[in-house]
Symmetry: C2
């Protein structure tokens, strides 16, 4: 079996608790190193991370609440598989929240915020050039979270973070191969608008960026790809 987890077992200098495992699994999902639908067996994870099942369960429950994994009673935890309907809902919610947030960010941004955004973009380009699409996607998501952070609304930021996490799953399932994911230009333009405190422009750019993403999902064909075996195999 392929090794997909990045945390080393039993690094004695660092305590491995539920939060670190939650973060590690979350990162693995964000970077598409674990596919939607994958079984996350407690015993296996406990062995990998060198802790008891107790702390694994805690981590899995946290991920379940963020809707990144689905826990089925007496069946175990699986990486979530958002349905087509849920995919639409997630992007509609993002189109509702993020443009307004980008506007606030443009109004409130300070010079060091811009620096951080630019560093993010650089890393994104670097990952892209290195061919690490998973990392690039993850950084791309963090870019949106960074904008929410600048807007200074922790409550809405938390919502956006869960939406972006789910978006990563949605992209893993419904992204159409044909369209390349070169959204870097959109991000570049966003930074400029925010840097110049152009609220209106920032809001509009974010909105069109999200509409682009939304429409780049393959909404028909993949719909009936193995959501459940039963549905897939009954003609």
């Amino acid at each position: 079996m392929q090794k997909v987890f990045d945390a080393k077992p039993k690094r004695s200098s660092q305590t491995v608790n539920a939060d670190t495992i939650t973060a590690a699994l979350s990162m693995a999902v964000h970077e598409h190193r674990i596919a939607p639908g994958s079984k996350l067996a407690e015993g296996e994870l406990a062995e990998i991370y060198g802790v008891s099942r107790t702390v694994i369960r805690s981590a899995l429950q946290a991920l379940a609440h963020a809707q990144l994994v689905e826990i089925k009673k007496n069946r175990g935890a699986f990486v979530a598989q958002p349905t087509l309907i849920e995919a639409h809902e997630v992007f509609e919610a993002r189109e509702l929240l993020e443009p307004r947030t980008a506007r606030s960010a443009a109004r409130l941004s300070r010079p060091d915020d811009i620096d951080r955004l630019k560093r993010h973009i650089e890393n994104e380009h670097l990952a892209m050039d290195a061919g690490d699409q998973g990392l690039a996607l993850s950084l791309s998501g963090q870019f949106h979270i960074e904008i929410a952070r600048i807007a200074g609304q922790a409550t809405i930021q938390a919502f956006i973070e869960t939406l972006i996490a789910r978006s990563s799953l949605i992209i893993a399932i419904y992204w159409r191969r044909e369209s390349a994911l070169c959204e870097s230009h959109a991000h570049d333009a966003l930074i400029r608008a925010i840097e110049q405190n152009d609220c209106q422009q920032a809001e509009e750019l974010m909105h069109s960026h999200l509409v682009d993403l939304h429409s780049a999902l393959d909404l028909r064909e993949k719909a009936n790809v193995a959501r459940s075996l039963r549905e897939a195999l009954i003609p």
Copy 2:
């Protein structure tokens, strides 16, 4: 000590699992039967509900993720005490999400939806007449959730549910005694707009309703009421 929990210990016919305990505690917070800041000791809850600490911990973690309780490392779980800033953020988020949701609800509502809303209002009035302010408040919150349900966006509905849960805590802390909480009229007007599929009216009514609620919070005096002893006692 006063008995604040409603679940009977060891009802043999019904399995008591983490979800039921989460719901029971959540309800108790919604109805203001447990005050913000209260300690929720694992052993005590385990005894009350007749289960082991394992399942109590699971329930508390779920509540923590919904931000209804705060878990402090090696200290335990406490009913959350939203700060003034968080209170503002929650209502600003509601003002962003709910008017749009009310609009959708007005567009999509069906006759039986209206029936359910009206039954909700009735129960709200009944609880009010019976002097059970806690129950009335809880039902009032559920009214908003019901509207989100009608709008048919599960993702946004989930956000609104967490916002309303936190609103209950905020009201417990920052509600000013002077203003009576007779928001029933606002709800009545909302139902009429939704029943008549008047989208614009529903959106505006919801917005002004939330602004009313927001402004009915006491944002100055209570701000420095025992957020922490340290801050309260140092001049």
